[in-house]
């Protein structure tokens, strides 16, 4: 809003009389979700843009203060609703950091699968919507073909396709079924060819290139100032990926590259996402090859006893286990006093959870750093001088999710 106000002053009087205010969203076909842009137009050119957010505000952070640690997991599904598994993982990791619980190696590998599958799925939708906004509709439905495969895999992982709630503090809810592996392998084998198909339609398409190259250039400085993360930051040429900079879940053991853009325009962000999808498929392959056997929930040690439900077998035979089952099940987990921040490399950027605990059953303060929120801030700065049609390229290339922005 502030930018729009200052621009009001900057624009010369005679020009302002000709300008037109136009309201784009929250029910506009290409503001994906409920973003609203108040645009000031001079013909086709945008003079100023004021994004209005909050139409999907559900007070998630406040909810986090009233629900016990475990009960908040389903709420994380609805943050970035294009990558619910990834949000589950990020929240579980933050809780584990607070409670000093380890996650067994097999569960870690499964979480990597969750992370990368949802990254591919989210990037696919981002790419599809981006292309559709610029008029290339076929890509959108092609990406849905692959997303259908991914959702089937996610269904095998946790039974649900969309609202996964899969992770638990100290591990994951259940082990992967046997038939998951051949299906996942088939997907990994097939996927690079599919990306080639998208590239064949877009990467050297003259119209696509003209619509995206040199449009919405984000400089390195701007990217840092506005706190961009994820592909938007890397598209501007800054090498920052949480998986590399601050490895978690054993990402240091997997070989993958992080793509870096050179120009910071819409085309670079598009290329970055394509490249990331290919790398994610490579990571999936490595996990399939190297996943260790073992437990999927950490049930060792005193801390773990208080946070994780014991095995059913033990509950029926062991008095201690029965007590813990009762305690964890009815009263939930007592977290230690402390505060932590944990950031994960989610598809849209760094999804961080800041948890403050005064000890007790729920968070004293739960704050979510949604990457889409930070990424959207730059719209006000970028849009002036572009045409209405460029706004679609910009929105598509920034690839936001309002569920996570408004929270």
């Amino acid at each position: 809003m502030s930018r729009a106000r200052t621009l009001d002053v900057e624009v010369a009087e005679d020009r302002r009389s000709e300008s037109m205010m136009i309201n784009m969203g929250p029910q506009h076909p290409s503001t994906h979700g409920v973003l609203r842009l108040v645009l000031e137009l001079d013909g086709e050119e945008v003079i100023s843009c004021a994004p209005v957010i909050g139409y999907l505000h559900r007070a998630k952070e406040k909810v986090g203060e009233t629900f016990s640690w475990h009960k908040f997991i389903p709420y994380t599904d609805r943050l970035d609703y294009l990558a619910p598994l990834s949000n589950n993982v990020a929240y579980a990791l933050a809780c584990e950091k607070l409670m000093a619980v380890d996650c067994p190696p097999r569960a870690q590998a499964i979480r990597v699968i969750c992370h990368e599958l949802s990254r591919i799925s989210a990037h696919l939708l981002g790419l599809g919507a981006y292309a559709m906004d610029l008029g290339a509709m076929t890509i959108f439905l092609w990406t849905f073909r692959e997303r259908e495969q991914i959702y089937s895999l996610i269904e095998r992982i946790c039974g649900a396709r969309f609202t996964t709630s899969y992770t638990r503090i100290g591990g994951v809810e259940r082990d992967l079924p046997e038939d998951f592996w051949p299906k996942c392998q088939a997907f990994v084998n097939e996927f690079p060819g599919r990306v080639d198909e998208y590239e064949a339609l877009l990467s050297r398409n003259k119209i696509w290139v003209k619509r995206t190259q040199g449009i919405g250039v984000i400089t390195k400085e701007q990217a840092l100032q506005f706190g961009l993360t994820g592909p938007n930051l890397r598209g501007s040429g800054i090498e920052y990926d949480v998986r590399k900079a601050n490895p978690y879940l054993g990402y240091e053991n997997y070989e993958f590259e992080v793509p870096i853009g050179t120009e910071g325009d819409c085309y670079d962000r598009y290329l970055c996402r394509l490249f990331e999808m290919r790398e994610s498929a490579k990571i999936l392959q490595q996990v399939i090859d190297t996943i260790p056997d073992g437990p999927i929930l950490n049930r060792d040690g005193d801390e773990a006893l208080k946070t994780v439900l014991p095995e059913k077998e033990k509950v029926l035979t062991n008095m201690e286990a029965l007590i813990h089952q009762f305690m964890v099940g009815t009263e939930s987990i007592h977290a230690p006093v402390g505060e932590v921040y944990f950031g994960c490399e989610n598809p849209k950027g760094e999804l961080g959870f800041y948890l403050r605990s005064k000890g007790g059953l729920e968070a004293d303060r739960l704050r979510i750093r949604g990457p889409s929120f930070a990424n959207l801030q730059i719209l006000e700065e970028l849009t002036p001088g572009h045409s209405i049609a460029d706004i679609m390229a910009l929105l598509g290339s920034i690839d936001f999710v309002m569920g996570e922005c408004d929270r």
Binding site: E44, A131, A136, M137, R145, I207, A389, D390
Partner: protein
């Protein structure tokens, strides 16, 4: 009968003209109604989907169901519009498109009862001029719709369409100059007959063909030139405020225009009813069977070009407004001028 018509040729002309009007407009209207179905099926095929398959066999009843729905819907006119122009605009997009059909020759001449009938409703000696006179009226429909809606998104759509269609009208006109330089006539039947005996114009004037095809896409507001209604930018562009049958008229107008331009491409550049290795004599030798063969050949070309329309729509992204203008004025117009030069050299009397 033969003697009767020999005595009163005017009755024959009137009867055949009426029959042709009914036949050809219905071919156009039915194709325009079924084009959305074709488009949905073809796009579904390209996108790994099924497409419409609920109403009737393979969804063939869909266009009828859609039409019924449009007719029985409430026809709201928003309070803030200019009522006269708002109502007039949809009609202005459909009628010119249908009128252009009047000069399109669908097949070689047919002989009936000892008389010959040209297979164009009106075989005007100024055929091409008639086409341009009426196809350029279509811009009024869209621009007026945008203006009369008195609302912001339609206004942008209307302004875009005015600029776009006027610019591309120019390319369209210039690209055809070469054709009638070669034919030395404006009568569409003669242009086809010349191509039947000689080469198709798309081979002798490839540049003109290319420019005409591109301009045809722009004139019918189809992707990559669908800026006036660009859904992801302008919600629905010029027809945002329209509903019910008025919206259906725009819809029908667009598909009708596609059909008309496909006919024109076939007539002007793809030899009309010509079949490779056939000459005017061999068509005449086959008599009315030759006319039937020509009709089938013509419709095949039209359908192929309609398929091409759909194919392009689901393959490439949309242009931006400045790129569109750049392409029109700085690329296509010089190219069509070049084509005129080329046509002049090609047809120079030796």
């Amino acid at each position: 009968m033969n003697e009767f018509f020999a005595e009163y040729p005017l009755v024959f002309t009137m009867a055949t003209t009426l029959a042709k009007i009914v036949l050809f407009t219905h071919i156009g209207l039915i194709l325009a109604a079924y084009m959305p179905w074709v488009e949905r099926k073809v796009s579904a095929w390209m996108q790994d989907r099924v497409g419409p398959n609920r109403v009737g066999y393979a969804g063939l009843g869909q266009p009828i169901a859609d039409a019924l729905k449009f007719i029985f819907k409430e026809d709201p006119v928003p309070g803030h519009v200019d009522k006269v122009l708002f109502t007039l605009a949809p009609a202005l997009t459909v009628i010119p498109a249908i009128l252009v059909l009047a000069v399109v020759p669908f097949a070689p001449a047919v002989s009936l009862f000892g008389q010959t009938a040209q297979m164009a409703i009106a075989d005007l000696s100024v055929g091409i001029l008639f086409v341009f006179a009426f196809s350029s009226l279509a811009v009024y429909g869209i621009t007026l719709a945008g203006w009369a809606s008195n609302s912001k998104y339609p206004l942008i759509g209307g302004v875009r369409s005015a600029a776009q269609m006027v610019s591309y009208e120019l390319c369209l006109g210039l690209s055809v100059v070469g054709v009638f330089m070669a034919a030395q006539t404006l009568r569409l039947t003669d242009i086809v007959e010349l191509q039947v005996d000689g080469y198709w114009n798309m081979f002798t004037q490839p540049i003109g063909f290319l420019v005409f095809v591109i301009a045809a896409f722009a004139e019918t507001n189809r992707l990559p030139f669908d800026l006036p209604e660009a859904e992801t930018e302008l919600v629905a562009g010029y027809h945002t405020e329209y509903g019910s049958m008025k919206f259906a008229m725009f819809f029908a107008g667009e598909y009708m225009a596609m059909f008309v331009f496909s006919c024109l491409v076939a007539v002007l550049f793809m030899g009309g009813w010509d079949v490779p290795f056939m000459s005017n004599e061999s068509f005449a030798a086959l008599g009315n069977w030759g006319a039937a063969l020509g009709f089938v050949a013509f419709l095949t070309k039209v359908l192929l070009f309609l398929f091409f329309y759909v194919w392009v729509r689901f393959t490439i992204p949309r242009f931006k407004f400045d790129q569109l203008m750049h392409l029109g004025w700085k690329v296509l117009i010089p190219l069509s001028l070049l084509n005129i030069l080329w046509a002049g050299l090609w047809n120079m009397p030796s």
